[in-house]
């Protein structure tokens, strides 16, 4: 009854100055909402980063071939072969015990056309020489037909599997299965044995792994690639040549047990850099280690976000204190009356604390509501930008396009408790100042 009355009274006093109280609440609202928002966005970003890394497979080690920068404008050339070799591929798959298998991959940008439609412009795409395991490791799913088979690898078959997007571009009105795909630059034909389902692009990870867009890929057996395409690429651009020679673009090393990954990665490095420790034409990417790093970064990130949010809560708290100090001065007379009528110092303290806590709790609760709106709001903002300003949207960083904020559940009670805490901490000084007033002086106050 009495407690009820105290709260009732506090709220009545606050409603005496609705605008002032609302502004004070706003300070806490922003503080609490920003705690939840920042943590949700931080969580969304780091989850996205983790998802991208996990996309590569935590149990995989990826070795990429890197084309060294052209030295001395080598117009005339001694062709320098670079990158992983088939011999190294063999070495990796046979000498390291923890390695389950090694997938050889060779990628080549080229043009594709359909023989049945000679007038259509050839489409730029990517020719990928690989093995059957590639589909599993890269999570490719077959829509129709089949992916490359072991028999096709052995027989160096002239077959290919094509990505969904490329299929629909080359064959707008026909069934691509069993049609012949033509590569104008290589003057080669491949029979289409499978069409894949759509697969989302992967993001770039670190410096050495570019993002991959699978939508215009054509997969052929790696053996076929070696036999028919060879290792040397000659590109004519304008008047000049560029020649590059490499055997493999990538080896994806599958390790049986995730725990063996770091050790295996060291062995892989040692094997490949045996002759030249400073070898620049390969890069070893270990998603597992990146993942561990990302988790550590996430913690720092969260702490940083939390710090920013905490600062905004403190600013809100100072707002409360400021208002309460003004209120206490303004209500000196009332304090005097209450003391004269029998209010103890503690009654006065409690009365003002109740008011600050009311403010901060209302700010906290509305702040939580505002915080919960974060995912919806981010989604809506993204939609608005995409529809309203596509150019601006295109320039957004990749993570801003795909990230979806994820409310961190603990942030809700934490934000609420902190807001109450802020109310108490910043309300305590004004309340005690009120209580310490001499009742006689206070009564005389105009």
């Amino acid at each position: 009854m009495l407690i009820l009355r105290t709260w009732q009274l506090g709220i009545k006093s606050l409603l005496l100055h609705p605008m002032r109280s609302a502004l004070t609440v706003l300070g806490i609202f922003i503080g609490v909402a920003s705690v939840i928002w920042l943590l949700a966005i931080g969580e969304g970003i780091s989850k996205e980063a983790q998802r991208q890394i996990e996309d590569l497979g935590a149990e995989n080690i990826i070795v990429r071939s890197i084309k060294p920068p052209d030295e001395s404008g080598a117009n005339f050339r001694s062709i320098q072969a670079f990158g992983l070799t088939r011999a190294e591929h063999k070495l990796l798959s046979t000498t390291i015990k923890t390695v389950e298998s090694v997938l050889p991959i060779r990628e080549l940008p080229t043009k594709f056309a359909y023989t049945g439609n000679p007038n259509a412009k050839p489409i730029d795409g990517r020719l990928v020489g690989c093995t059957p395991e590639y589909a599993e490791v890269t999570r490719l799913e077959v829509a129709r037909g089949h992916f490359l088979t072991d028999r096709e690898i052995i027989s160096k078959g002239g077959v290919c599997v094509i990505a969904a997007n490329l299929a629909s571009k080359l064959f707008p009105s026909e069934d691509p299965l069993n049609k012949l795909m033509y590569l104008p630059e290589k003057k080669e034909f491949y029979k289409i044995v499978g069409v894949l389902k759509h697969r989302n692009a992967t993001a770039a990870i670190g410096g050495s792994l570019a993002s991959q867009d699978f939508s215009l890929d054509v997969y052929i057996p790696i053996t076929t690639m070696q036999a028919r395409v060879g290792d040397t690429e000659v590109k004519r651009t304008g008047g000049s040549f560029s020649v590059k020679e490499f055997e493999l673009s990538q080896c994806t090393i599958r390790v049986g047990d995730v725990d063996d990954v770091p050790r295996t990665a060291k062995l892989v490095e040692a094997t490949l850099r045996k002759d030249d420790p400073d070898r620049q034409d390969i890069a070893v990417v270990v998603p597992f280690e990146l993942l561990e790093q990302a988790k550590a970064t996430r913690l720092m990130f969260m702490m940083f976000m939390g710090l920013i949010a905490a600062i905004s809560l403190i600013v809100g708290g100072i707002g409360i204190m400021n208002i309460m100090l003004a209120t206490v001065t303004e209500r000196t007379r009332e304090i005097g009356i209450r003391r004269a009528l029998g209010g103890k110092r503690s009654d006065i303290t409690r009365q003002f604390l109740v008011e600050t806590i009311s403010l901060s709790v209302v700010g906290g609760l509305t702040g939580i509501l505002g915080g919960l709106l974060c995912p919806v709001t981010v989604e809506a903002a993204r939609w608005l930008i995409r529809e309203g300003a596509p150019a601006m949207y295109a320039n957004l960083p990749e993570v801003a396009k795909v990230m979806s904020p994820e409310i961190v559940p603990i942030s809700i009670p934490v934000a609420f408790i902190i807001s109450v805490f802020v109310g108490v901490i910043f309300g305590l000084y004004p309340a005690m100042r009120a209580a310490q007033m001499d009742p006689i002086e206070a009564l005389r106050h105009e």
């Binding site: 009528l341 029998g342 503690s346 009564l443």
Partner: protein
């Protein structure tokens, strides 16, 4: 907290113990204010008794010590020396919290500037001392309404102070001062802000309450006001200069008294 405060009934004790029950007993009360350059001796040994049912006007020139004495009687301050016994307890030695307790339960304040709390309604203002005594309940609410009715504001229970005239506000303050059934009512220039008609209304109310047995101590500098009291104490330089019964006391006729509770205006 469920039962209504069984406050000591002054009338009852008066009947059982005879005439000489004291509402307050003041002995050699001194109050010194120690300032940097000097010590102001605002009260220099004041002694008097206030029997229950008395109606005292404290008078004196400005600076004579009236406010200081009133603050002590109201337990808002502690004397430098001397004793002030209120209902058997010497207030001079009490802690701040104990003084607050005493103010809530034994003293009724009426101020010159009414001093109602702006955000509360008439009934809620009357309830404040009970709130600090921890004795708010449905029955006490009823009592507050009765008190409001007694001072003629039964139809304005839910009004805010700003919606009332000065005289009406002072009536609320008087009702509030009675809600804890105090040992005495302490009125500090209670009519100082009011015109002569309203002053008469308030004085009539005081007379009615005093006739019912209520002890009243009021500070005033107006002779017309003090003439309504039964006794006058005049202070001079912190000492009692005169302490006498008022002869030819002015009283209001019964029909005026009757009108009080009929509602104002």
């Amino acid at each position: 907290m469920s039962s209504i405060p069984t406050v000591k009934s002054n009338d009852q004790t008066a009947e059982t113990n005879g005439q000489n029950v004291l509402a307050a007993r003041v002995r050699e009360l001194q109050k010194h204010y120690v300032l940097k350059s000097e010590t102001v001796r605002a009260l220099r040994g004041v002694s008097f008794d206030v029997p229950e049912g008395d109606y005292v006007a404290i008078m004196g020139a400005s600076g004579s010590g009236k406010s200081t004495l009133l603050n002590l009687l109201g337990c808002l301050d502690r004397p430098t020396s001397g004793s002030f016994v209120l209902g058997g307890d010497d207030v001079a030695t009490m802690t701040d919290d104990e003084l607050s307790q005493i103010r809530a339960s034994r003293i009724g304040f009426v101020f010159q500037s009414y001093n109602l709390i702006a955000q509360l309604t008439v009934v809620e203002n009357i309830e404040v001392p009970l709130y600090y005594m921890g004795q708010l309940n449905a029955e006490s609410r009823k009592r507050c309404k009765q008190l409001a009715a007694m001072v003629g504001l039964g139809d304005r229970l839910d009004h805010r102070p700003t919606q009332l005239s000065g005289g009406q506000q002072q009536r609320v303050a008087i009702a509030r001062s009675l809600v804890n059934d105090p040992y005495f009512m302490l009125a500090d220039e209670a009519t100082g802000n009011l015109d002569s008609v309203t002053t008469d209304e308030i004085l009539a109310l005081f007379q009615m309450l005093n006739d019912q047995g209520r002890t009243i101590i009021m500070v005033t500098h107006e002779d017309e006001v003090s003439e309504h009291a039964k006794r006058m104490i005049r202070l001079k330089d912190g000492e009692i200069q005169i302490d006498k019964r008022i002869e030819n006391r002015k009283t209001f006729p019964p029909e005026v008294i009757k009108k009080i509770s009929m509602g104002t205006d």
